[in-house]
Symmetry: none
Subunit: 202 residues, 4 copies
DNA sequence: GATGAATGAGCATTCATTCAT
DNA sequence: CATGAATGAATGCTCATTCAT
């Protein structure tokens, strides 16, 4: 069997596994569920993955890889003005939404399942989040350096808070019926919160 | 055995269950783990709770109840100026931290375990969050009405975004060594983000 | 449940396990076979033994213990003449036959199953045999010292050869219909071989 | 593919199987282990042997055949004196050692694996041993008839006892570092035991 | 009420064997 | 003929739950 077919089958199994994991959760998912979905023998699963945990790990790694790639695409020091920054924020938000919107099920796994399955996975997710936090902080530091963000920002803490908002946004947009409209609403509000605050200014 | 003793034992079991669930997670927790911790027979467990799921549900209900109570303590319409509002924000934040700081294990369960165990529980948590979002929105609406918050706020979306930040904050503070210091840093940054934004103003 | 009942049940399971192992062999024995024989749930088995290997090990240890006890009962330096020695040989042979005759199935396990299941078990059996060889050698050395056995005996090798004969004898006697008669025949021949040899002397 | 090639491949597979069976034991040996050793597809195995059991049987048959051939090479009635007999004993012992020394792995299979795999195989081995016992008995009877062995020998029993010693010897020699030296020691002791006995004679 | 012995449904995983290519 | 992907029967083991004592 050629390389392509093997990879195809592997992908099919991952695809089916994502489906079942996102529907039933890790623990309630039986290998036979995944196999049945593909109409293959459940022994076949084990030709492609070592164990149930193995495939879950593979899915998690994929997810984390995607997020990592996304985050590194934009250079943190690129923007030189508040306007640049707003635009950049928009691009980042868009990419993140795109990643998850491609497959809502992945997001569901990331948030409903990744934690609590296994200490290793917890750590993996924590590290991914930490990485994401660091990148966000770079943007903030850049803004402070370029003098378009407040000089007294607690960048470490604010980076995490901002990312918290972003994750909530992702979830909300993905749960919305009209995702484009939701995306606009959230983007506007998040960017308002981040840059301008809610207080009415004279 | 009188009513009191029964309730005492029930509480003991819940206490032990919280301990074990937060350490091992729902699926890895065995009823016998809980029983052993209390030095009772594991058959006894079933005289107080119908099933493993039953007690987990009870814990979740408790948690959600606490959050609900906290939220309703403050009247959303109380503050009349930005200063009042800042103060109120601080009180709300404090209460929330207090709930979770009383028992970090509860928080761990809420975030690491509640999701993914069962669809019913997911829904319950979603509802609690929705409730919390609604309350937060009331504060925003009050601020808009009283003219100390921007009139064009998308209160529904912003409420959710703000709550997202708050949850991230709770996690961060609880994970910190010096929780009081962390609380101050986070409270300052979150309230800055909420009210003033990061942009440097001329 | 009191200690006695627990031990009783444990013994019952061992008894049933010996039965099934000796009939079907280790690998072909299913835990459920053992459980069915006792009309107990197969989960019950695991209350008394950690695993299939665990109980097999327990049986092996028992067997080895018995042999060890038997061997140490007779003092190797007791006999002072060829006549004493013949008598002692008879006693030793008798004990060994007794051990195995109590339960032919144990013997079958020792010879048909103990080897090849697991390296640890192989080693255990080898050690038991080595021990037995050493004891036998003590008897030979005593005989040489007391001058009723040839001074040029290669005691190490001969001890092993003698024990080889003894094991073959055990097997033969146990397989015989009339075990008492068979015992007599074998005992006579083995002791003749050991002490006098087959050659006709002038 | 011509007959020769087919037989060659069959032999190769048997050779590899002996290797793996003797290393891992029957049950722990996977068909794919054998195939991998030969760098052939494991499906190919089934073109030459019906099943895992089939090849094991073939190996066992081979082994038994070899022993049979060896035993029949020497005519039991050849020796006419004790001296002849001693010499013949040496030749027989030598051939037996040779068979097994050619391939220690075969011996390991014979002793560690043949028993306990399957009732049919057990019976086969028993028959081979029985055959060997019968031949040995012929030598004894010849010795009695030719009056160089005691007239009162229980030839049936003694044949078996002697063979027991011989098997133990084989094992010991094969396990020894210096096999030639070991062979000498064992041969001397066994032949002493057989013909002369251990007792010191005046 | 308390206990913990008994239970068996349930599931991950292995591997001999088949058969389409 | 050779291959190795696919298969699924088979089994050890866990643990929530029951119930006799």
């Amino acid at each position: 069997m050629n390389e392509n077919k093997i990879n195809q089958r592997r992908s099919d199994i991952i695809e089916a596994a994502i489906q079942v994991f996102s529907e039933k959760g890790y623990h309630a998912t039986k290998i036979s569920d995944i196999a049945e979905l593909l109409k293959i023998g459940h022994g076949t699963f084990y030709r492609y993955f070592k164990s149930k945990f193995d495939i879950f790990n593979a899915i998690a790694d994929d997810l984390i890889l995607h997020v990592g790639q996304m985050v590194t695409t934009e250079a943190p020091t690129e923007s030189n003005s508040l306007e640049d920054y707003r635009a950049q924020l928009n691009r980042i938000g868009k990419s993140l939404f795109d990643i998850f919107m491609t497959d809502i099920r992945i997001f569901r796994i990331a948030f409903y399942e990744l934690l609590g399955v296994d200490a290793t996975l917890n750590e993996k997710l924590e590290n991914a989040i930490k990485l994401f936090d660091l990148y966000t902080e770079q943007y903030l530091i850049n803004g402070v350096n370029k003098c378009f963000l407040r000089p007294d920002l607690d960048t470490e803490v604010i980076a995490k808070a901002v990312n918290g908002m972003i994750f909530v946004s992702c979830k909300a947009v993905l749960d919305a019926e009209d995702k484009d409209a939701a995306y606009q609403r959230w983007m506007n509000s998040v960017s308002l919160l981040m840059l301008d605050g809610m207080a009415l200014r004279a």
